[in-house]
C-alpha cells in the first residue's frame, strides 16, 4: 500500500486491526517520508528511528495477540518539551541541549500503555515561549504551505509535522495558544483541553497555571481518540481533576441542530486580515445552514485586557519556574569560575535565548517589591473578570466561535525584532488559557493561499461540545483534506 504516512489515526487503526498493514510497515513508510521532506520543513529536533522500529515490532506482537487500541502501533511526534525517558528532551534550548530525562511524562506512560510508536521530538520555540518557532535555539521550522512562512508556535514542529505527514498525529502544549495557533497556520486540528484534564507531570514547566498538553491531528476524530488516551486524573499532578473521563468519540455526531453558538465581536479585532474575516463569516454561515442557532452579537467586554494580563501572569510564573536552571542538577553549566553567583549568572546568560531572557526579566519585574500589587496581583484580579466573561457567556451558548489568529501565517523574520507584534498573534487564544476553558482550532478555509483556523471555545470540562461542532463542520466541508504543496 502506498502513502501510508498520509493516513489518519482511525484509518491506520482499521488497517492495522484488519491486518492489512503492520505497524513496522507503517512506521518505515513514515520514516522514509520524513527523510524526503525534513530538509525543507525542519520539524524535528531529534529522530528516534531505532526506538520507532523497536516499538513498532512490540506493537505488532501485541496486535497479533489481539491487543489493539486506537493508538497502538501508530507513529507520533512529541513536542520536545515533554519528557521521554532515555530520549533527549531539549525544549529547543541550549540549556537542555544534552538533557536526557530519567523518567517519562505521565502522558507518555499512557501512550506506552497502548503500545504507541514515537518517531521523533518536535521543534518549538525555546521553552514554549513564542508564536513562530523562530525562537528555537537550533533552527527555524518552515510552514509546509509556504516554506518562506512560519508554522506558528510554539508547537510549530508538531503542527508542521502533522501537516506534511511526518507523523500520523502529534502532541503539543498550549500556554497561550501554542497548540491552536500553529494548528491554524498549518491547516490541521489542535485541541487545548480544560486546565486540569491532562496531567502536566513531565511537561517542562513554563507557566504552571496555564500550561496544558493536547493533540494536534489531521482530523477531529483523531483529536477525540488521542484525548481518550491522555486525559484523566494523575496522582503526580495535583491540579488534575478527579473526574471521570467520557468516551470522546461519542461526541462525534454530525447533528448540531439547535446548538447555540455565540460569536464574540471582540475577537474580530482591528488589524485582523479582511480575508480571514471573510473566511470566518462563510464558515459560521455554514454552521447556521447545519441548523445551529448563531448569535452574531455576543460581547465579552474584558477580552481586550487579556493580552496585558497574560504577559504579566505567564512571564511571572516563568521567571519562578526557570530559576531552576542554575547549572547544578542538569543542563548547561558554566564552569570557568569558582564563584557560585558568577557561575549561576553566566549559566543563564549563555544557556537562554533572547525571548526567554526577556520573559524572565519581565516576570521578575512584575513580582518584585513595589510592583507586585500593580502588576501581578492586578493581573490576577483581571483574570477573575475574564473568567466571569466566559461563565456568563456559557449560560446562553453551548460554544463560542472565533478566528484562531487574526492573520494567516506570516513570513519568517517579519516579527522577530518586535516582541509586541509577535504577542498580538495570540490575541484570540490567550484569554482561553487565562480562564482555563477548553478550545479547538480546525481548518476553516484559505486566505491568500494559506490555511485559516476557526476556534471553538466551550465551558470547563465540556470538550465534547467542541468535538461535536467541529466534527459536524468537518463532515460538511473539505478543508481538512487539503494537502500542502510540499507533500
Amino acid at each position: 500500500m502506498d502513502n501510508l504516512h498520509q493516513l489518519t489515526i482511525h484509518e491506520a487503526h482499521k488497517l492495522l486491526k484488519d491486518k492489512k498493514i503492520s505497524s513496522v510497515e507503517l512506521t518505515e513508510d513514515v520514516l522514509n517520508h520524513i527523510h524526503s521532506v525534513e530538509d525543507k520543513v525542519h520539524a524535528c529536533i531529534t529522530l528516534t528511528e531505532e526506538e520507532a522500529i523497536r516499538s513498532a515490532r512490540t506493537a505488532d506482537q501485541a496486535i497479533a495477540r489481539g491487543d489493539i487500541r486506537p493508538l497502538t502501533g501508530v507513529p507520533t511526534l512529541i513536542k520536545d518539551v515533554i519528557c521521554t525517558k532515555g530520549i533527549r528532551t531539549t525544549c529547543a534550548s541550549k540549556m537542555l541541549e544534552n538533557f536526557i530525562p530519567p523518567y517519562d511524562a505521565s502522558v507518555i506512560r499512557r501512550l506506552q500503555a497502548d503500545n504507541y510508536v514515537i518517531v521523533g521530538k518536535a521543534n518549538m520555540d525555546e521553552f514554549a515561549m513564542g508564536s513562530s518557532t523562530e525562537n528555537s535555539a537550533f533552527f527555524v521550522t518552515h510552514n509546509p504551505w509556504d516554506i518562506d512562512c512560519v508554522p506558528g508556535g510554539s508547537s510549530g514542529g508538531s503542527a508542521a509535522g502533522v501537516a506534511i505527514d511526518e507523523c500520523i498525529y502529534a502532541l503539543g502544549s498550549d500556554t497561550g495558544g501554542s497548540i491552536r495557533q500553529p494548528a491554524a497556520f498549518c491547516g490541521v486540528a489542535g485541541l487545548k483541553p480544560t486546565y486540569g484534564r491532562v496531567s502536566r507531570y513531565g511537561l517542562v514547566a513554563f507557566a504552571s497555571s496555564l500550561d496544558q498538553i493536547g493533540p494536534i491531528t489531521k482530523d477531529v476524530t483523531d483529536c477525540a481518540l488521542v484525548l481518550n488516551t491522555i486525559t484523566g486524573h494523575d496522582a503526580r499532578d495535583a491540579t488534575t481533576v478527579p473526574l471521570g473521563v467520557p468516551d470522546y468519540t461519542r461526541a462525534l455526531k454530525a447533528n448540531i441542530k439547535g446548538m447555540r453558538i455565540g460569536v464574540p465581536k471582540e475577537y474580530f479585532v482591528e488589524g485582523m486580515q479582511a480575508e480571514v474575516r471573510s473566511v470566518l463569516e462563510v464558515a459560521i454561515q455554514k454552521l447556521e445552514e447545519l441548523g445551529a442557532i448563531v448569535d452574531w452579537e455576543v460581547s465579552l467586554p474584558y477580552t481586550k485586557y487579556g493580552l496585558a494580563a497574560y504577559y504579566i501572569l505567564a512571564p511571572s510564573e516563568a521567571s519562578a519556574n526557570l530559576a531552576r536552571y542554575d547549572g547544578v542538577k542538569y543542563g548547561y553549566s558554566y564552569r570557568n569560575t569558582n564563584n557560585m553567583w558568577e557561575a549561576m549568572e553566566k549559566t543563564k546568560q549563555n544557556g537562554f535565548g533572547a525571548e526567554v531572557k526577556r520573559r524572565i526579566m519581565l516576570g521578575t519585574y512584575a513580582l518584585s517589591a513595589g510592583y507586585y500589587d500593580a502588576y501581578y496581583l492586578k493581573a490576577q484580579k483581571v483574570r477573575t473578570l475574564i473568567k466571569s466573561d466566559f461563565e456568563q457567556a456559557f449560560q446562553n451558548y453551548d460554544v463560542l466561535v472565533t478566528p484562531t489568529s487574526p492573520t494567516v501565517a506570516f513570513r519568517i523574520g517579519e516579527k522577530v525584532d518586535d516582541p509586541v507584534a509577535m504577542y498580538l498573534s495570540d490575541l484570540c487564544t490567550l484569554p482561553i488559557n487565562i480562564a482555563g476553558v477548553p478550545a479547538i482550532s480546525i481548518p476553516a478555509g484559505f486566505a491568500n493561499g494559506l490555511p485559516v483556523g476557526m476556534q471553538f471555545i466551550s465551558k470547563h470540562f465540556d470538550e465534547e461540545s467542541l468535538l461535536k461542532v467541529s466534527y459536524a463542520f468537518e463532515q460538511a466541508t473539505d478543508w481538512h483534506n487539503q494537502k500542502p504543496p510540499l507533500s
Partner: protein, 95 residues
C-alpha cells in the same frame, strides 16, 4: 514610563541572570515598550475583586503519606554537570 539602565541591572540581579551592556540597552527599550502596553490594565477598577490564581478552583489536595520507590540515585545524577560521592557538587557557597 521608561526603565532606567540601573533598574534593568537590578532586575537582572534579582533573577541572577547575567546580561551584557548591549543587552541592558536592548532590554531597557523592549521591556519599556511591553510595559507601556500593560498600562491598559490601570483603566480597570478591580477594587474588591478576588484574584484568581488558577482557573478550576481545586483546593487542598491530600494524599496518604505512604512511602513508594523514588528514582535511583544514579538516574537522578545522570545529567549532573558535576558530582561526587552520590551528590551534586557545587562551588563554595560560603567563603
Amino acid at each position: 514610563m521608561k526603565l532606567s539602565a540601573e533598574e534593568v541591572r537590578h532586575i537582572a540581579l534579582l533573577a541572577r541572570l547575567g546580561i551584557s551592556e548591549e543587552e541592558v540597552e536592548k532590554l531597557r527599550n523592549q521591556l519599556s515598550h511591553i510595559l507601556e502596553n500593560m498600562e491598559i490594565l490601570s483603566q480597570l477598577d478591580t477594587e474588591g475583586l478576588s484574584p484568581t490564581t488558577q482557573s478550576i478552583a481545586l483546593e487542598n489536595i491530600y494524599r496518604l503519606d505512604e512511602p513508594s520507590p523514588s528514582l535511583p540515585v544514579e538516574d537522578v545524577l545522570s545529567n549532573a554537570p558535576n558530582q561526587e560521592d552520590n551528590c551534586f557538587k557545587v562551588n563554595a557557597v560560603l567563603e
